[in-house]
């Protein structure tokens, strides 16, 4: 075997995709990387477009840029003007910028609109082997398609608008494998919350993560999107899964996926996209799927998670330097060390977001509540991640199942995930949420958030308390 072949089998998939996109390596500096796809939403782009105007330049490759509002869009009456003047201004500004710079724009109510990280994969805009960026930390989601996809800041959005490139240091690579089969009621979300609870919120900082192992391989595309979505919550630059038959099956026939002969050509290429048998990662971690149970968070960062049957860690299990933040966090949540969350009264349930706002999430939610009734005192927001997901819910008759159990489906958007629209959890209220962040005030000032899977959220929605979904399956 020649040396070259040896080197090839030592390459990680991350290396392969990254190296293919290098425009130049700046001396004693970053690497200039070519970007195949830029997504723009209304919150992190206005200042980038302003910068473009100030410099008097046009977009370098407008056809590779897709814009859509999602963070501020209301989840009801989208046909009426947005009431909040500031939200309206952001949404209008994106539309105006897209028109001025000649970019595709999926406006509110457009059937292609929704949360970018839901829309990109479902329209076939995000594909294996691509480099994808967006001014949004959950851009890691698209990594599930076998792409190198990561969040960037607004200055970097401006770089891509101006040159279709960004300047980056090449991150280190890490492989996280989850081997074995998942237990009953354990979902991709639980895998992610479990990994984060072991890795902490900074455990993967500086790394790009490849997820592997039989439990990951066996996930559906929706499950993979959920897993990759949460990569950023352990500090990783991004996370991805090598494309395989599941990926190709998912993409086939989607709006922007190549068709006919082109499809065969591209699939042949995609099949080459995998880490070499002897690939060397800077760090390798293996978890056992059997160790994972449905997960809940008890604190104010997503790394503060535990199995739903467990108790909040005792103070003496935390390093002394972290005691102040730990107690501050539990105090905010109104919880005490060593207490269990099972049975805690829940005020709000939110199912949605780019983490768990896909069709499979609503199938899971509906399967659990079928034949039950929503708990009287719980306010429940079910928010599809896109109009396409909403349509699928209706096509599959899930809306009927949900309605019969006392739930209604709202219109798509980010909604209570970050509460930029009207969907704010009131101060002091406890929410079980399928979104991705339980930070102080994230879901509304003073809101207390428990992150969980759609199944666990559904269980709380019908019992009114934190409940192990396995009891209801």
């Amino acid at each position: 075997m020649s040396l070259i072949e040896n080197l090839e089998i030592m390459n990680t998939l991350f290396d392969i995709i990254w190296d293919k996109h290098v425009v130049q390596i700046v001396k004693d500096g970053p690497t200039q990387i070519y970007i195949d796809r830029l997504y723009c939403h209304e919150v992190t782009t206005p200042q980038a477009f302003d910068g473009m105007r100030a410099r008097g330049i046009k977009c370098f490759r407008p056809e590779q840029i897709i814009c859509m509002p999602d963070h501020n869009t209301p989840t009801h009456d989208q046909d009426k003007p947005i009431e909040d003047p500031i939200s309206k201004k952001q949404v209008d500004t994106l539309a105006a910028n897209a028109a001025e710079f000649g970019l595709a724009h999926y406006a509110m109510l457009d059937k292609r609109n929704g949360i970018i990280h839901v829309v990109g994969p479902e329209r076939g805009l995000s594909m294996p082997g691509m480099t994808i960026v967006c001014g949004d930390s959950h851009t890691s989601t698209h990594g599930a398609m076998g792409a190198v996809s990561f969040g960037i800041g607004t200055s970097e959005v401006e770089m891509v608008l101006a040159s279709q490139c960004i300047l980056q240091q090449k991150p280190k690579s890490m492989r996280i494998s989850v081997e074995g089969s998942l237990g009953k009621g354990v979902t991709a979300k639980d895998i992610a919350l479990f990994i984060m609870s072991k890795m902490t919120t900074s455990g993967a900082t500086g790394y790009f993560v490849e997820y592997a192992g039989s439990a990951v391989k066996n996930l559906s595309m929706e499950g993979r999107l959920t897993l990759c979505n949460l990569s950023i919550e352990m500090g990783a630059r991004g996370g991805f899964i090598a494309p395989d038959e599941t990926t190709f099956e998912y993409l086939k026939g989607r709006e922007y996926a190549p068709k006919g002969k082109d499809w065969d050509v591209v699939v042949a290429y995609w099949k080459t996209l995998k880490s070499g048998a002897d690939a060397v990662f800077d760090k390798e971690i293996v978890f056992k799927a059997e160790d994972i149970e449905p997960m809940v968070t008890y604190g104010t960062n997503p790394g503060m998670g535990m199995g739903i049957s467990q108790a909040i860690p005792a103070l003496d299990t935390i390093p002394a330097s972290g005691h102040a933040s730990y107690l501050k966090s539990l105090n905010y949540m109104g919880f005490k060390p060593e207490e269990k969350l099972l049975g805690k009264k829940v005020d709000y349930v939110f199912c949605g977001s780019c983490t768990n706002g896909r069709i499979e999430d609503f199938r899971a939610f509906a399967s659990l509540v079928k034949g039950h009734k929503k708990a009287k005192d719980v306010v429940c927001w079910l928010v599809p991640g896109s109009w396409m997901v909403k349509q699928q819910i209706e096509d599959e008759g899930l809306d009927k199942v949900l309605e019969a159990a006392g739930f209604e489906i709202r219109q798509p958007g980010c909604s209570a995930c970050l509460a930029m629209n009207d969907d704010k959890i009131p101060a002091g209220k406890l929410a079980v949420s399928t979104s991705n962040r339980n930070f102080e005030g994230r879901q509304g000032p003073g809101a207390r958030t428990i992150l969980a899977s759609p199944l666990t959220a559904a269980a709380a929605a019908i019992t009114g308390v934190v409940t192990d979904p396995r009891e209801l399956i």
């Binding site: 590779q64 930390s137 800041g153 200055s155 970097e156 040159s163």
Partner: protein
């Protein structure tokens, strides 16, 4: 904003809390702004800690303590975790900080600071702990950040460490030049990259027209 960096000597503002996330640096509601008015973001840096719910300054928060001022923010480890919002860096720059010292920065935030002419300086945990002590003992403690030499010095103790910054960023900071200025000069390289990589080998291009 685009001010040349050389040697900065300043007193510091201490924030001895771990895991300060970008939601705390600038709460999500400020993401609604459609301009990057520095004063606006600077005025709302650490908003929820800095002001009471009635909008009056919270006297127990460090930014409202006149004893602490200067161009250097000293923060505990894992500063800037969470959301990638660049607004956090605008708020820090807008407030007038030119340097943030910590033992660990979240990745994206660190990059955002550099892109906005704020220098993140990573120091050892012991240097940081000593610096917090010096500042607690004397709020007027001066720190010197020497960008050309890449050193940071606690003038109260004389202890000094070197810090990392890549040659390219250092050049940019010292010349007040930004990344876009650089990229715009590399158009020919980008076009030759595109010519080498077109077709379905690079499915990013060619496949998404008609929208």
């Amino acid at each position: 904003m685009k001010k040349k960096f050389n040697i900065i000597r300043s007193s510091c503002v201490p924030l001895p809390l771990e895991n300060v996330d970008t939601d705390q640096i600038i709460p999500a509601r400020f993401l609604k702004a459609t301009s990057r008015d520095e004063k606006f973001f600077g005025d709302n840096l650490f908003c929820d800690w800095r002001y009471n719910s009635d909008g009056t300054p919270n006297s127990s928060f460090v930014l409202n303590n006149p004893a602490y001022k200067g161009e250097i923010l000293v923060a505990d480890k894992n500063f800037g975790s969470g959301s990638s919002r660049e607004h956090a860096a605008w708020a820090i720059a807008g407030y007038g900080f030119r340097v943030v010292i910590s033992s660990f920065f979240a990745d994206i935030h660190k990059n955002n600071e550099l892109n906005n002419f704020v220098l993140p300086v990573v120091v050892s945990e012991s240097f940081l702990a000593e610096l917090f002590e010096s500042i607690a003992a004397d709020p007027s403690t001066i720190v010197e950040v020497n960008v050309p030499a890449q050193t940071v010095t606690n003038m109260a103790t004389g202890h000094s460490e070197s810090f990392e910054i890549n040659g390219y960023k250092k050049y940019c900071l010292m010349n007040a030049m930004d990344d876009i200025d650089f990229l715009l000069q590399s158009k020919d390289k980008i076009e030759s990259y595109e010519n080498r990589n077109n077709g379905y080998d690079s499915p990013g291009r060619g496949a998404n027209h008609g929208c």
